[in-house]
């Protein structure tokens, strides 16, 4: 039995939605089963990783008699890939609110992980990140082929995140990457899907230490001057 800790608002909502799908809607029971499915805390990404087979056998088979299709639906809701998705709420941001910060975009299909391909992902999550704060400032529904009306979809997608300096994706094609770079956005391709929170924490660690010069420049030139002088002394 794992401790429930503090569920995020979105995760709590997803679990409630998932419980309603069950033949005998029992929120308490679902919560108990979920906490048996993982040895760690119930976080958005831990819960999203639970599959139907695990649900069926967990907690001495409470859900053993539940139809597989229903369990699939529960899993889809929990991993936020069902039509009844839950998005986190966006916080207000005004230019200048966060000194020495950088605007980044993450390509995602579930609003939990950076797991999106640039040209097919569902959303771009836009964050303003400084070394001590990461604020979700926008969620942009990425344009799809049918919205593009003959225009280059990838150009439109790149323009959607024009205000960002860094873009995290799971993959991006060469020509699309060129279009992104042309707008001054630095694409970063991850080897595997990572939780959004992990990516933000990792970026914050980089910002708190010595960010690479191009990133320091993207944050405003304060840090890059310091770096340039360090560079001179090395030479």
């Amino acid at each position: 039995m794992t401790s429930l800790g503090f569920l995020s608002r979105e995760l709590a909502l997803r679990i409630a939605l998932a419980a309603r799908v069950l033949p005998d809607p029992n929120l308490k029971q679902l919560l108990a089963v979920l906490s048996r499915c993982t040895t760690e805390q119930l976080t958005d990404s831990n819960v999203a990783a639970i599959d139907a087979a695990t649900l069926k056998t967990a907690a001495n088979g409470v859900f053993a008699n539940v139809d597989d299709m229903v369990l699939q639906q529960v899993v889809a809701i929990l991993s936020n890939t069902a039509p009844e998705y839950v998005l986190p709420s966006v916080q207000a941001y005004h230019a200048g609110d966060m000194p020495a910060s950088v605007t980044i975009a993450c390509a995602t299909d579930d609003a939990i992980h950076v797991n999106g391909h640039f040209s097919t992902c569902t959303w771009f999550m836009v964050y303003q990140v400084s070394c001590d704060e990461a604020r979700l400032i926008d969620i942009r529904k990425a344009v799809h082929k049918h919205d593009a009306l003959g225009e280059d979809k990838n150009v439109l997608r790149a323009e959607q995140i024009q205000d960002c300096k860094v873009l995290y994706v799971i993959s991006i094609g060469g020509p699309a990457a060129a279009k992104v770079v042309k707008l001054g956005i630095h694409p970063i391709k991850l080897n595997e899907a990572n939780a959004l929170t992990d990516i933000l924490t990792r970026l914050q660690q980089v910002l708190a230490a010595t960010p690479p010069p191009w990133l320091a420049k993207a944050m405003g030139n304060v840090a890059s001057e310091r770096l340039t002088s360090a560079w001179d002394s090395v030479e």
Binding site: A177, A178, V181, H186, P212, P213, W214, A216, K217, S224, L227, T228, A230, W231, V234
Partner: protein, 66 residues
């Protein structure tokens, strides 16, 4: 007669290092750097500097002003 890498723009991707015909590009303490003593701007080897050709960032590799 040499090129240099603008350190505020270099993203340390390393694409330029293997294409240099004179092996003048190395990874420095912060970003990649070009040895100005050996850089030929690819004259005699190629029509255009190969590092400039492969660099994904515009205006990141520039000629050292005279």
């Amino acid at each position: 007669m040499a090129l240099y890498i603008v350190e505020a723009d270099c993203i340390s991707c390393g694409d330029c290092e293997p294409v240099c015909p004179t092996n003048s590009i190395t990874e420095g303490a912060i970003v990649f750097k070009i040895d100005k003593k050996t850089c030929t701007e690819c004259e005699g080897d190629f029509d255009i500097p190969q590092c400039v050709k492969v660099c994904p960032i515009d205006n990141c590799i520039l000629p050292i002003p005279a």
